[in-house]
Assembly symmetry: C2
Homo-oligomer: 370 residues x 2
């Protein structure tokens, strides 16, 4: 795999943490929501993976931008964009909620935070949902305000995150429930902190709004972090695949609908809430899906997926496409996410893929992997 440099410019925005993470050893980036997201710190990704599972890391996750929607019609607009029923949503809770268009195609898979009865944050994966929301609001004459809130998330992930955060913010934070959020004081400001994050090793996301106090909190964690073996880290491809956390743009995109992505429990077709693509989803559900996101295990020691890779059965039939993958130290083989066509989307379906010109065999499996 040849390496390429990233050319930085103002168009690829930095974050309040950029100068810190570059001193802390960030060596590579991806680009996400027009911002730079670190992907490597020094050594191999496997070391960071093992460290994440054993200890605790702080990640610059500012690329998860917040589209704020507030005002009288804010619930109506937020609900219009997602197939998940938010009619009983509670203030202080996070909701993973697929955003779809009128053809039921996936536009984003954000976490939505209900801040008040008439105030929401859509914590985005990689697409300009703010523009979609603005278009809908203008066209429908909704009474709402829509803008990117000044929020720069940093994420504290790993099994020791609970003790680390309690040491700095007090023991009360240990009571925070998964996907709940509350406000915690540090440096003279109140910080919205959720028990959430893009790993399954436990942790928190600090929705930093007060930059000075927030950076002081970031620095404080590193100041006292040695006791917990705290390190700077980043979303980890190996861990997120092992934990079956999907990535919009990688595993699924605007060509897919939520039923194909296994989001059935976030698709509400049974009551009278109003959202785009509802009739289309009813039709898809009654006819049955024609492709499905599945796990795969491949007999290979390494892989770098930079685009869809075709998968074939033993008779050379195209059965689907591999969309993400990495070597996993626990499974001692490559695991990945694939969109598999009907009728092949069943566990134990065998296939072959070409990796760097070499044919490798694999098996489809159900998600999650563990």
């Amino acid at each position: 795999m040849k390496n390429f440099f990233l050319s930085k410019s103002r168009r690829l925005r930095g974050t309040p943490y950029t100068s810190r993470i570059e001193k802390q050893g960030a060596s590579a980036y991806t680009v996400y929501n027009h911002m730079i997201l670190p992907t490597r710190f020094g050594g191999p990704l496997e070391e960071l993976y093992q460290h994440l599972k054993d200890h605790v890391q702080v990640w610059d996750a500012a690329v998860q931008r917040q589209t704020e929607i507030n005002g009288k019609d804010s619930y109506k607009l937020v609900q219009l964009m997602t197939c998940r029923d938010l009619s009983k949503a509670k203030i202080g809770r996070c909701y993973y909620a697929p955003i779809i268009d009128d053809k039921a195609k996936l536009i984003n898979d954000p976490v939505i935070l209900k801040l008040a009865e008439d105030r929401w944050w859509i914590s985005l994966s990689d697409s300009d949902v703010e523009l979609f929301a603005k278009g809908l609001a203008i066209g429908n004459n909704f009474d709402v305000n829509i803008f990117e809130a000044k929020v720069d998330i940093f994420s504290v992930q790993g099994p020791k995150s609970n003790d680390l955060m309690a040491k700095v913010l007090g023991p009360k934070i240990k009571d925070l429930k998964f996907f709940g959020f509350d406000y915690y004081e540090f440096g003279g400001a109140k910080h919205l902190i959720a028990r959430s994050g893009w790993s399954k090793q436990g942790g928190f996301e600090v929705y930093m709004q007060h930059t000075e106090a927030g950076l002081a909190l970031y620095d404080k964690l590193f100041e006292i972090g040695d006791e917990f073996n705290l390190k700077p880290g980043c979303p980890n491809l190996i861990e997120r695949l092992e934990s079956s956390l999907l990535s919009y743009g990688n595993d699924m995109d605007i060509g897919d609908n939520p039923l194909e992505c296994g989001f059935d429990k976030y698709v509400n077709l049974d009551n009278d809430i109003n959202f785009l693509g509802k009739e289309e989803l009813k039709k898809i559900k009654s006819e049955g899906i024609k492709k499905k996101l599945m796990g795969v295990k491949i007999n290979a020691k390494e892989i770098s997926v930079t685009g869809s890779i075709n998968m074939f059965d033993k008779d050379k039939n195209l059965i689907g496409e591999l969309r993400s993958g990495s070597y996993n130290p626990m499974f001692k083989q490559v695991i990945g996410i694939a969109m598999v066509n009907k009728p092949y989307f069943k566990a134990s379906q065998e296939f072959s893929v070409s990796i760097d010109g070499k044919n490798c065999s694999g098996k489809v499996c159900d998600l999650p992997f563990i």
Copy 2:
């Protein structure tokens, strides 16, 4: 300036040219519309700049995605999104047309192609205008189809582009007028080709829809290109600044309106066409703008602008922010684009900026530079 690697993944899509340009020596990328855009080929950017001004280059410009809008209400929707009057737009012509929201804030600065009375392509700079268009169409109940057309542009730029293209496609292409487009046959397919491109050295953009025949055309150009000293290239920061070609996300963004960006001739407030932000623009025009995009010349030999850089006058007043810049071999100093505040936005205003910790003096100037 430390260098960082780009971590590739399916989410950062490649183009039909990626395998070719990587063999041809691409060494760095930026990310644009969720795709990878080459920014360097081997040697220093100055060599490519001089070559572009003397000879001819082929660029992978597939990141300029086409949002197609067709159907009965397509004109109504396209016009709703831009302050440029398209009521008399002609089939076969390209129109540089700022897209703004209901607050008159800039969302994109695309070139819009009128393909037929009810069929348009919006050739995008870096934001998901497709989502804005979908939101507006759904909310307004417009009778339109909106999708990303399967089009992958390659660009032929430089003074010898005319002769190179005529040699392969026939002399008729020399008659094509600036910002006109027509169809030219090669490899058994008709290719939409416009006289346009993101340099001022002359050239064409091939809106490749037929991948096989289009790649054959790409290869043919390189096969016979030695006579014209053809080289692979990419949008060139030095040349585009010298030519005062603006870059959305770098020079201007959703915090700016088109009058602040000097787009006065693309702002139509005098007849009754209907577009978003029209009343707001009338208000801004009558009150006068409070900041303005201007050129700057700085007494420095190099610069790397990766975010806004504050500009101060001799009394330490903040007078604006530098947003793009590069050393220019013709001016023998750094030139750049800055958003300058009232009352400082006048040519010959002096200022200082900090470049890599060193204070450098500069002067504001009118655009274009030449």
